[in-house]
């Protein structure tokens, strides 16, 4: 276990029990991190596609996805770079709604989230079903800005935030786990903040 750092006492006072281990409260800040140039994506040409191991591949345009039943997430988000942010509100559509339309085949075990930039991130199917994941376009009541992944991003708030792919363009359903962009670069395949699964091997 960790050796004590000489002279380090840590934060004074009560620690918020909503904070996973090793995280701090970013409060009114919402830091921005991504590896590619920030893209400009027009909602006129935007699409979201569920493909791979499905009965029907389905694509939605911006207007079509807005016609689906709305769903909201209220709660925290946790970034692997150690900030967390509480009391966020995101509006969009549940991934359950999108998967129902495409009907996953029984052999599906994982999904690869893909972005308009080419970014990818892998997730177990069970982490994006049963009310645990959304495609969102509003944050705290305002359209999601481009630096935060607008016009729409994936939201999987119970995992570290790199799983919540910015500028998401679809989900590819597969029957095995394969690493996405950060996962190939040493980050954990699942990324549970409460288990501190930051890097491969954690």
């Amino acid at each position: 276990m960790a050796g004590i750092t000489r002279g380090f006492l840590g934060r004074r006072g009560e620690r918020d029990p909503r904070l996973p281990p090793g995280q701090y409260d970013a409060r009114d800040q919402w830091p921005v991190l991504h590896a590619e140039a920030t893209p400009r994506i027009s909602t006129d040409t935007w699409t979201f596609t569920v493909e791979g191991l499905v009965e029907h591949e389905v694509s939605w345009t911006w207007d079509e996805i807005h016609a689906l039943p709305r769903a909201r997430y209220d709660g925290a988000i946790h970034c692997v770079t150690t900030w967390s942010k509480f009391d966020m509100t995101f509006d969009g559509v549940s991934v359950d709604t999108l998967l129902e339309a495409a009907r996953p085949l029984p052999s599906t075990t994982h999904v690869m989230a893909v972005s308009h930039t080419g970014y990818t991130t892998n997730l177990p199917l069970a982490d994006v079903t049963d009310g645990k994941a959304w495609v969102v376009w509003d944050a705290d009541g305002a359209p999601l800005t481009v630096e935060h992944g607008g016009p729409a991003r994936l939201l999987v708030p119970h995992l570290y935030f790199w799983k919540s792919a910015k500028w998401v363009s679809g989900l590819r359903l597969v029957d095995h786990d394969e690493p996405g962009f950060w996962e190939r670069n040493g980050y954990h395949d699942r990324g549970d903040p409460w288990a501190e699964q930051r890097y491969q091997g954690d």
């Binding site: 960790a2 050796g3 004590i4 750092t5 000489r6 002279g7 380090f8 006492l9 840590g10 934060r11 620690r15 281990p21 090793g22 701090y24 800040q29 830091p31 921005v32 991190l33 991504h34 590896a35 590619e36 140039a37 920030t38 893209p39 770079t81 150690t82 900030w83 930039t117 080419g118 970014y119 990818t120 630096e147 962009f181 190939r184 670069n185 040493g186 890097y199 491969q200 091997g201 954690d202």
Partner: protein, 242 residues
């Protein structure tokens, strides 16, 4: 655009190890370089980072990522340059408390995307503390006798806030001052512009941009205007994590 990893992070590199602080050196009034001796050294790639973890007596921990500033050189030692952030739990501790002889837990090197392989032409664009991983690349290029592979543009607010001010200048580097330029500078103070980068674009090179999110987006826009294809640009954004 395609996002292709430049390499992978080896599982063994992710074990925590206890490094010893060899020297502490001020780069600017708000930036300090820590030279660490690693008991289990592993050669890094220029651009990679380490995670540094502080542990309190009650078990509370705080960790942050810091880019390696030194070139991969086989010494078993690395240098991390840390900007002091107001209220930054880790950076303030490193600046105010840590001295040579102290032990610090680290793991790394980490990162396979924002890395320079050491033998390809590249244009480097850094703002403020974003120069740190680019300095590792410049140092490697100079040490290997191939400084011409690189072009480096650094944006700093004023001469006093320029990192590595004694070492950085050279035929392959350009410094852009945004608030206050020194007397005799060939350019008035102002944000990085197309005219600053266009002469350095040779075509076909990879471009590495590092700095705050605002700087990264401004620099990317300028690079695109200068004709750099978007898929050649790799970006590392420094958040306000302290």
């Amino acid at each position: 655009m395609t996002l292709t990893p430049g390499g992978t992070t080896h599982r063994r590199t992710l074990r925590w190890q206890t490094a010893r602080v060899l020297t502490v050196r001020d780069e600017t009034p708000r930036a300090r370089t820590f030279r660490l001796a690693l008991p289990e050294p592993r050669l890094h790639l220029a651009g990679q980072h380490y995670v540094l973890r502080l542990t309190a007596p009650d078990g509370y921990t705080a960790s942050r990522s810091y880019s390696v500033a030194s070139a991969p050189d086989g010494t078993g030692e690395i240098e991390l340059t840390v900007e002091r952030l107001d209220g930054g739990e880790v950076s303030e501790f490193l600046h105010d408390v840590v001295q040579p002889g102290d032990e610090l837990e680290v793991r790394g090197p980490i990162g396979g995307f924002f890395v320079w392989p050491g033998d390809t032409p590249a244009l480097l664009v850094g703002g403020g503390s974003g120069v740190v991983p680019l300095m590792a690349m410049l140092r490697q290029a100079r040490a290997s006798g191939h400084p011409d592979l690189l072009r480096l543009v650094v944006s700093a607010r004023s001469p006093g806030e320029l990192y590595y001010a004694d070492e950085l200048p050279g035929p392959e580097t350009v410094v852009v001052y945004t608030r206050q330029a020194p007397p005799g500078a060939g350019r008035t103070a102002g944000r990085i512009a197309v005219a600053d980068v266009a002469p350095l674009v040779r075509g076909g090179e990879d471009v590495y941009v590092c700095g705050s999110p605002g700087f990264a987006d401004a620099a990317t826009a300028v690079l695109l205007e200068a004709g750099v294809p978007v898929h050649r640009i790799r970006v590392e954004r420094f958040g306000p994590s302290g």
